[in-house]
Symmetry: C2
Subunit: 216 residues, 2 copies
Amino acid sequence: MRPAQRREQLKDRLIAAAEQVIATRGLAAVRARDLAQDVGCAVGAIYTVFPDLNALVLAVNSRTLAMLDEVLAGPGEKGACAAADVAAAAESLVALALRYLDFAHRHPRRWRALFEHRMPEGEPIPDAHVAEQARLFTYVEEPLRSLCPKLPGRERMLLARSLFSAVHGIVSLGLEEKLVPMPMPTLKQQLALVVRAAVEGLLNAPSSAKPAEARR
Amino acid sequence: MRPAQRREQLKDRLIAAAEQVIATRGLAAVRARDLAQDVGCAVGAIYTVFPDLNALVLAVNSRTLAMLDEVLAGPGEKGACAAADVAAAAESLVALALRYLDFAHRHPRRWRALFEHRMPEGEPIPDAHVAEQARLFTYVEEPLRSLCPKLPGRERMLLARSLFSAVHGIVSLGLEEKLVPMPMPTLKQQLALVVRAAVEGLLNAPSSAKPAEARR
């Protein structure tokens, strides 16, 4: 095996080991010494394939984002959504929120790691990772395009992020065992209620958010 | 000074020291050894007045909740809000969201500590602390009473928590320097936009959330 190949293999094994730790014990349990032991290498060898543990965690988070991406894409609804149908667009936003809840519920530690991980002071998140995060918002922007066709692109992007954040807040505090804990069926009802209300309100808003469509 | 008095004094000084650490460096920086050094006592002395560091952190979080409570109460609007005026109730929810954002922005580490702190596995949050947390939601429930007078109490309580969580999500991800960062003026606009939309949508919803009032 050539050195480059060996490096790639070590990298993959380290990502798999870190992924396993994050999925079962959470981000805080990721430690260089344990990972080295898991894959059977020296601690120093980790730093021959990753500049630091942050890069390794980002590699795991990229995999989580790819999983989430697949879940949010849903069962082939992409075409249906473009059909500029207000009711369908509203329901696709509700469905999106419920898929997000489902993902967070099924993969709580992986999902939390996306939000808990912080780069060291002054170090920016690599562009490629930012792009992977940004892809998630396109799932919200798409139905918004049908709901509010007159909304300028930048406003739509901001609104998509705000709606994502609102849903994230309900999911995040709802799944926590403190402050706002809710059983799953209640959480689903509440998510659907708030998302439907927000969409309805956006349709009726006397602002640039108003769509060309007749109000339902 | 009697022993009981001395204990009370040590307790107060430890809370003040932990408060200072949380406010300036965050929850993760709270360490028994440093606190003992700050107040000039032995590490063991801490555990003569607090069962563990969690109890000390909860004491600091109680102070933060009291501060937040005061901010959310706002400048004497309580009476105005009871006036069952739909428009005023909607705007008081927007004002509440903006005050929450302002608090989080001015006291980021204190505020994060409210959500980052977790009790050890299996230990419940003390009832008194849960009650302090629950008080926050009454600020959301009050305007909802005017907006949706027919909504049963339990549904109103759930909706208040969901709206709080949605606002928390927008504030939380918006203030983070990752994923959904937004400058403050944008964040304020987005908060107001989403809260107004949700309220408008709740008023128009063909559900039990519909208020007795004529629609605006």
